[in-house]
Amino acid sequence: MYNQLATRRRANALQGTSQNSYQPQANIIENENDWKLELLIPGFTKSEIKMAIENDLLVITAEGKESEIKYRRHEFHSGSKSVNRSFKLNDKIDRDKIEAELNNGILTITLPIAEEAKAREISIS
C-alpha cells in the first residue's frame, strides 16, 4: 500500500533531455493529509527546474549551465548539469493542488491527498 508512489526509473528521458542527466536523491514523507517529496538538486535556480504531470507520472527535470572554467575535480554535475527523475502518482493525490518550493537546493513538492481519498471513520448508526 505504501509503495504506490514508487519511483519509476526510466532508462532514458522520454522528453528529450540530455542523456547524461542524473537522478537526484529523494525523500518521501507521508503525512495524514499530504505527501512530501524532497529532491536534492543543488545548483539550480527556480527557472531552470520544470515539473510536469504526464499521465500518472510526475516528471521533474532541470537543465543548468555548465561552468566554462576548467575543473580540477568534478564530483557533482559531472557529465552534464541536468537532472531527471519521475515518480508515479497514485490515485489519491489531488493533481490540481500539487505545489513546489525551492529552498537552498532542496525542492520540496507537496502532494495533497484528495478529500474523497482520505481515510475517515464511519459511524455505525
Binding site: R72, H74, F76, H77, G105
Partner: protein, 142 residues
C-alpha cells in the same frame, strides 16, 4: 508495517558512487571523511573555486577554517531528531553534519579567501597570488 531507515540500499549505493567517482590523487584535495559532501574544484587564471554540494543549510551553519596548508569546511547544524510521527516512505538523504578538508596548493592569497552560499552550493574562492606576490608589489615610479 514496514519501516524504512537511513541504511536503506539506495542511499548506500549513492554514497559508494560518490567515493568511486572522486578522483584519487587529484592535486587539490585529500579528504578526511566524516560524511562526505561532493565537491567540484575549478581553476581559472586568477583563482581556484571549491564548490561543495550542501543543500538545505543556511549560511550560519558553516564553519570554514584555514589551518596550515589546509582549508576545512564543517557544519555545526544540529542533526534533526526526527519525531516518531514522521513517516518516511523513502529515504535517500539526510541532513547530517559533515566535515571535509582540502589541501591548499601553493601561492594562495590567504587573506582574500571568500565564501558564499547559493542554491544549496557553498562556493569558496581562493585567489592566486599575483606573480610578484602581494608583499612584493612593484611600486609605480611617478
Amino acid at each position: 508495517m514496514k519501516k524504512y531507515d537511513m541504511s536503506n540500499s539506495a542511499s548506500l549505493t549513492q554514497l559508494l558512487d560518490g567515493f568511486v567517482n572522486s578522483t584519487i590523487g587529484d592535486f587539490i584535495g585529500s579528504d578526511f571523511v566524516n560524511s562526505h559532501p561532493r565537491a567540484n574544484v575549478l581553476e581559472s587564471d586568477e583563482s581556484f573555486t571549491i564548490q561543495l554540494a550542501t543543500p538545505g543549510m543556511s549560511k550560519a551553519d558553516f564553519k570554514i577554517t584555514l589551518e596550515g596548508d589546509q582549508i576545512k569546511v564543517s557544519t555545526t547544524k544540529e542533526v534533526e531528531t526526527t519525531s516518531e510521527q514522521v513517516k518516511f516512505t523513502r529515504r535517500e538523504f539526510n541532513y547530517n553534519s559533515f566535515s571535509r578538508a582540502f589541501n591548499l596548493p601553493e601561492g594562495i592569497d590567504r587573506k582574500n579567501v571568500k565564501a558564499s552560499y547559493k542554491e544549496g552550493i557553498l562556493f569558496i574562492t581562493l585567489p592566486k597570488l599575483t606573480q610578484q606576490g602581494s608583499s612584493e608589489r612593484d611600486i609605480e615610479i611617478k
